[in-house]
């Protein structure tokens, strides 16, 4: 089923349950205005969304019910039991249609004329003795279908306490341990009667574990939902213009991890806003857009979650960091000179390290990135930092999906076993074996190191570090576990490596918390209790700091930088030129080779039949057509948007490369953005929008071209409707800000939000649309002269008059997308003319 429909069903079923209660309450106290408003709003929302989703039966019934309620609200009708009965009957009809919708994904066929007639009768205020037979006819099919429908719609979601889920997770953890124990015994015993059932038990346990984990998953958007407000406030406090760009909100992770990530993320965003981004004046001077952008991005990658927090600000000031490092005595000048930029940057994760010149209310008090790092490391994650002066910084956080059960490598040192989380293990290197094929551990002044490919890897003997060899246990040092710590690598020397095992992480007892080398403990399959090593803690205890792992770090940083390392670009040639041109690959819908004889020339230019439609073809270069006509086919880049397509004729498609798009020279001619160095060659970059405009004058919904994006504010209390409206308007080329209430909208105004037009719902709790319009018009604020379009489900002339009186420029039916777009276009054009 369509996601939208599923969401609509859930929301509407909740609303219907509320409605039943509220209507019964209204029957007892017909004068209760609050209840009446609630009922009206709920029915109104149902109707509005039905209209938007194209569900005519539901819409008609809801519309008729809304008319009745509207008259009751306007005190033109009294909420007699007969009126209430008529409305309740219509709700039953709505439920009936919904259950059909839930079962088939589309509205069932049926005739609602009787139900609607009864409502109209009720609305007219006639004594409604005819409701009784209507009820009877409406009830008949209901009886038959109700039970199935109830089940289908009622069982979609269920609320469960978090403690119940936690308890389940603990139990599953115990089950996994017991399973491991059984498997271990079974392996020792060889094949017997228990082997097959044990296998089955094992599979079921794994499935159960995954299932329970799923119940604990929450979208990371939940940890981000406070950030837009935070950023807005920060922008006000600092006088900067900041845009928050969030991607991958739906990425799910364990709620425990989510809770622990909330504070570090907030801090990093705060940090970016305060330190990273410059003031509008500075940005203007640097030739950047006045408004800085903070970009949050989350995605899954190989059992981990990657979260990026990036800004396009000034980047880290390496000179300031070096100066601070020197003044704090963290490193000598010589050491600093030898460090890579990545290592210098890493100093900001040290305790008490802040390069902010002034201590502001927001950050710069020396509690900062070190806390962020330790919080992230506490949940077994890592944080990396890349930064380019003047271009921005990017923090990349890698955290495990869940804390409760992790995959770990079991190793042995001096007879004791330890677990190392798989997330930090990069590779295993065998050393000191016979035959000379294995690598050997070398000593520099007593410090063991390993030559690993082109690097010197600092080593730590686990036995020595944990003082296990004091009572005579002999270390055999056969294997180096290469682990990722901070921005570098560390080799942990162990005696033996066993298997990897799914372990259930249990926190260490409070009296052991000071031993930072352990991140927890666990019970193995054989029932033994072992400690889980924290490689970061090991590195710290061993005094391996960034000064020692410098050589190791450079190669890792290359890997880390990959995420912002540019985009896929399509290279092609036009005309007889040898220099290729480039276009970002993700803008191109398809690459086609059309047979030459399929290209026709009509009055406007070249067209071809493409997927049963005529598609305009544009030549990038006047010579292109002739040049290309040498071959039998014509290569074309196809761009599409919704129903429309256009083709750009080129002479040759050269390659797809992955590179940074850094336009260094401005464009000398229309159709090109400028010149960039791509794959080592000066390349002209295509201005896609120019060519789209060539094909379709109104490609961007308005004839204004992409640079004049109009800014809209949508004020709408229904989450659902807002979610429908905002993307629809954004797709039509508007820059949309959404507010969930009139009060929030007014706060945005007072916060200095600049707009071109406002679209507002009329029926909202607390402050309705009419009051909002009066406030906008009357307060003489920044928005007083903006076009305001009212959205309503009710198109009665009296309502429209009331709306215009309050200050609305136009009145639109809520669910008529095209009418709204037309109205917006008209209002905005008028405004330009004024």
């Amino acid at each position: 089923m369509d996601d939208l429909i599923a969401e609509f069903l859930t929301e509407t079923n909740e609303a219907l349950a509320d409605l039943d209660l509220a209507l019964v309450k209204l029957e007892r106290t017909p004068d209760d205005q609050a209840t009446l408003s609630l009922i009206f709003r709920l029915v109104h929302t149902i109707k509005g969304t039905c209209g938007f989703l194209g569900l005519p039966r539901l819409e008609h019934v809801a519309h008729a019910a809304e008319n009745v309620l509207g008259r009751v609200r306007d005190r033109e009708l009294i909420a007699t039991p007969a009126v209430i009965t008529a409305v309740l009957t219509s709700l039953d009809r709505i439920k009936l249609i919904l259950s059909g919708l839930a079962a088939n994904g589309s509205e069932p066929t049926g005739d609602d004329a009787a139900c609607i007639a009864a409502l109209e009768l009720a609305a007219s205020g006639e004594p409604a003795e005819s409701t009784a037979p209507v009820e009877a006819t409406a009830a008949e099919p209901q009886q038959a279908e109700q039970p199935a429908g109830e089940v289908a719609t009622a069982s979609q979601t269920i609320r469960v306490g978090v403690d119940v889920l936690e308890e389940l997770m603990t139990l599953v953890g115990e089950l996994v341990l017991t399973r491991n124990q059984l498997l271990q015994i079974s392996r020792a015993e060889g094949t017997n009667l228990f082997t097959a059932p044990l296998q089955r038990l094992s599979h079921i346990t794994t499935d159960l574990q995954e299932g329970v984990m799923k119940t604990r998953m929450q979208p990371i958007g939940n940890a981000w939902n406070k950030l837009p407000r935070l950023v807005r406030d920060l922008a006000n406090e600092t006088g900067k213009k900041i845009e928050l760009d969030m991607h991958g909100q739906e990425t799910e992770l364990d709620r425990q991890v989510l809770e622990l990530m909330r504070d570090p993320l907030t801090h990093m965003v705060r940090n970016s806003a305060d330190h990273g981004l410059e003031t509008p004046a500075v940005r203007r001077a640097a030739g950047k857009n006045e408004a800085g952008t903070i970009r949050l991005n989350a995605y899954h990658e190989g059992g981990h979650i990657i979260i990026e927090v990036a800004d396009d600000g000034r980047g880290l000031d390496l000179a300031a960091i070096r100066a601070k490092v020197l003044s704090k005595g963290l490193a000598t000048e010589a050491e600093l000179a030898a460090m890579s930029e990545a290592q210098v940057r890493h100093f900001i994760f040290r305790a008490g390290f802040s390069t902010a010149a002034a201590v502001t209310a927001i950050s710069g008090r020396g509690v900062g990135m070190d806390v962020v790092r330790s919080n992230i490391e506490r949940i077994g994650g890592t944080v990396e930092l890349t930064s380019t002066a003047g271009v921005g910084s990017c923090f990349t956080i890698k955290i495990p999906l869940t804390l409760a059960i992790v995959s770990a490598l079991i190793v042995k040192a001096c007879g004791e076993r330890f677990a190392i989380p798989q997330i930090s293990v990069l590779e295993l290197v065998r050393v000191g074996g016979v035959g000379g094929t294995a690598a050997t551990i070398e000593q520099i002044g007593g410090a063991p190191v390993l030559r690993l490919r082109n690097q010197l890897l600092p080593l730590i003997s686990l036995g020595e570090l944990l003082r296990l060899n004091e009572n005579g246990a002999k270390a055999e040092n056969t294997t180096v576990v290469v682990t990722a710590v901070g921005s570098g690598m560390l080799g942990i020397v162990v005696d033996d490596v066993y298997d990897t095992e799914e372990i259930v992480v249990k926190p260490v007892a409070p009296i052991l918390r000071h031993v930072t080398m352990f991140s927890g403990n666990t019970i193995l399959g054989d029932g033994a209790v072992i400690m889980i090593l924290d490689p970061n803690g090991v590195a710290r205890s061993a005094g391996v700091s960034s000064a020692r792992d410098q050589k190791a770090s450079s190669s890792r940083n290359l890997q880390v930088a990959r995420s912002d390392d540019g985009i896929a670009l399509l290279l092609f040639r036009v005309g007889g030129q040898s220099a290729p041109r480039a276009v970002p690959l993700n803008l191109v819908a398809r690459l086609e080779d059309f047979p030459r004889d399929k290209i026709e020339f009509s009055a406007g230019g070249a067209v071809t039949q493409y997927r049963d439609k005529l598609m305009p073809l544009i030549a990038m270069d006047d010579g292109a057509i002739e040049q290309a006509s040498e071959g039998a086919t014509q290569p074309v880049l196809v761009f599409t948007d919704g129903e429309r397509s256009m083709g750009l004729m080129v002479s040759e498609i050269v390659d797809v490369v992955h590179d940074r798009l850094n336009i260094e020279l401005g464009a000398a001619r229309p159709g090109l953005l400028g010149t960039a160095v791509i794959a080592g060659q000066a390349t002209d970059v295509l201005d896609t929008s120019y060519w789209l405009m060539q094909a379709w004058r109104d490609w961007f919904g308005t004839a204004q071209g992409p640079q004049a994006r109009r800014r809209l504010l949508v004020v709408e209390d229904s989450d659902f409707f807002r979610q429908l409206l905002v993307p629809a308007l954004a797709a039509a080329g508007y820059e949309v800000t959404a507010a969930a209430s009139a009060a929030e909208a007014l706060r945005l105004r007072d916060g200095g939000l600049e707009l071109d037009a406002i679209v507002s719902d009329i029926d909202m709790p607390d402050m309705d649309g009419l009051e909002f319009a009066r406030r906008v018009r009357g307060d003489g604020g920044a928005w007083a002269l903006l076009p305001m379009i009212a959205l309503t489900g009710r198109g009665a002339p009296a309502d429209e008059a009331r709306g215009r009186e309050a200050g609305f420029s136009d009145y639109c039916q809520k669910f008529e997308r095209d009418a709204l777009l037309a109205s917006l276009r008209q209002c905005l054009t008028e405004q330009v003319l004024m």
């Binding site: 115990e174 341990l177 017991t178 004791e416 944990l466 003082r467 296990l468 249990k506 007892a509 409070p510 009296i511 052991l512 000071h514 031993v515 080398m517 352990f518 403990n521 666990t522 019970i523 029932g527 033994a528 209790v529 072992i530 400690m531």
Partner: protein, 163 residues
């Protein structure tokens, strides 16, 4: 395998009146001690204890109690008594603090006694400090003296001093 002693069964039925308390009686280097029976979850014998590197010396290690990890505290170390001879048998008394389980390692657990609360006497002033700090008081039993241990204080290990 584990020689659990069901504490409840040992206690005399209906023994603990309002003015009486029940104690699990144990020995530590020949000294008779008692722990309030209500603080005891389990009594175990012959448990495999996994040692924890770098832990304070009082912490003997971890043990696995039916899938839960229990931190074992050696009361001989805790009360600065001479260490047990290698291979000498020991028993553990499992107690819960907050959500954590701890096992107190002792030489021997013998019985459960119900004693009148009023009969408990204050620590004599000459009691060594380490004992006085971890004791609620003293009972004069027929043959010997019994020290009532303060479990909560015993579990408060000073990390700085221990390390």
């Amino acid at each position: 395998m584990t020689n659990d002693i069901a504490v409840a069964a040992v206690a005399r039925p209906g023994a603990a009146q309002n003015d009486e308390s029940a104690f699990v009686i144990l020995t530590l280097a020949d000294q008779l001690c008692g722990v309030p029976v209500l603080a005891v979850r389990d009594v175990l014998a012959d448990q495999a204890i996994a040692r924890i590197p770098l832990a304070p010396r009082e912490v003997a290690g971890n043990l696995n109690l039916r899938g839960r990890i229990v931190t074992a505290i050696d009361l001989r170390e805790r009360l600065r008594l001479p260490p047990r001879a290698d291979g000498a048998p020991f028993m553990s008394i499992v107690t819960e603090q907050g959500t954590e389980l701890y096992a107190l390692l002792v030489d021997q657990v013998s019985e459960v006694l119900t004693l009148r609360r009023a009969a408990m006497e204050a620590n004599p002033p000459t009691l060594p400090r380490i004992w006085a700090e971890h004791s609620h008081g003293i009972y004069r039993l027929e043959q010997r003296l019994m020290v009532v241990l303060d479990v909560e204080r015993l579990l408060q290990i000073d990390i700085a001093a221990a390390a």
